[in-house]
Symmetry: C2
Subunit: 242 residues, 2 copies
Amino acid sequence: MTTNCENCPLRQLDLFDDMSQDEANFMTRFKTGEFVAQPGTELLAEGASSSQLYTALEGMGLRYKTLEDGRRQVVGFILPGDFVGLQSGIMGEMQHSVEATTRMTMCVFNRSEFWELFRNQPRRAFDLTHVAATEEMVLGEMLTAVGQMDGLAKIAWVLNRFFRRLTALGLNENDQVPLPYRQQDIADAMGLSLVHTNKTLAKLREQGIATWADDTLTVHRPDKLAEAAHSVGVEIVKRPLI
Amino acid sequence: MTTNCENCPLRQLDLFDDMSQDEANFMTRFKTGEFVAQPGTELLAEGASSSQLYTALEGMGLRYKTLEDGRRQVVGFILPGDFVGLQSGIMGEMQHSVEATTRMTMCVFNRSEFWELFRNQPRRAFDLTHVAATEEMVLGEMLTAVGQMDGLAKIAWVLNRFFRRLTALGLNENDQVPLPYRQQDIADAMGLSLVHTNKTLAKLREQGIATWADDTLTVHRPDKLAEAAHSVGVEIVKRPLI
DNA sequence: CGGCGCCTTGAAAAGAATCAAGTCTCGTGG
DNA sequence: CCACGAGACTTGATTCTTTTCAAGGCGCCG
């Protein structure tokens, strides 16, 4: 029993642009099925050319690149509503791997119908470009954090981002949001060592700003967190849902 | 006297995808003129919504984000053939500023005709998405370098990238390519201090790998440079020209 | 000639990585 | 039912990369 795009629960959210009836119909045709990934599964591999494109419907995952020496750079986190596989759809090959952190439900689209989308659904084509541009924007902000901030600000930055984004997804209950990643994932995302990440998280905890334990992030002082992240004004941008 | 897209010198290069006659005609109509920017000029400002989109025809520039405390993160370098302003075209607002480093000649396109491109030129729309995806890919690689590599590898990485890209643009003469940036620009791009950048450049020079002086980068040992950059196999990807 | 921008170099200070244990939880198998 | 091991989180001590501070040099332009 797969979810029909017209009844997609994500469509209700303010975070996402409205979708016309016509577009929803098209998406339902474009969608070839659903796929459930178990925790730890690799959905797409760097260098691989997948014939499948996905939109995350439920669960969380991450994008990462691996270096020869085993180091890993997390280049993004995948939350519900995120489109996955655009690079392979456009350039024929993924430049990073994608892994499910929790159990994930993915909407599956067929790459062969990708071209039809550009020919017959200019609005959806525009949205796809929007998705790519948004991704680029996020990477630019992340690069700025990794390149210019010190440890405390980096950690605050990424926690703040999660907090706001997950709140926009309606997952905030009493200033608590689910955050099922490991400390190593955050360390690899922000270019810090695991040990330093751990000590920095402890600092944020001791200062009564935010506590992250048991896959749950509790933000006691959202204002202080944003301040520590040097990103007071940053809004989570509205985006199209593919 | 502006350059006609059909006779655009960049089109000759292997680096760029072929363009059909029909597409070249469309681009000529899409193009509203040319614009010459003097060194140091700000072409687009972060947060601004420009009604103009550009393709760099000649010269070099850079994209950067500024933090409240004055720090700066360079999020990309603009070389001939690069498209500028996609974010403002798609999302209505630039997320980074763009500055001309040298004198630059820019092809100017009108944002108001942007939508027509998506409606009537699906192939060009696809190319635009390709540009966005390529940009995302480059940022991902840069993030990996900034997040995971040490100083020497970071500098080697960026020099190697310039060397290969400028070579693909036909600007390589005897292993020398023009590189008109300041050390501070490279430092801000790779998240290093100016002092450390300078000392690291000295190291590469002493080791006989590469010398950068007088706006010219000379690579004595391309193999060693790529090795130091941990990016032996990375190719400069072919891309569409907008 | 003087000042400004950029590059260079040395010394000191600090932030982050690495090394090294040790704890806690949870699932597995004896 | 409990011992055991794996995986993740903590914490202290040490090492080292990188930053910051400070100063001088060089070329260019008014």
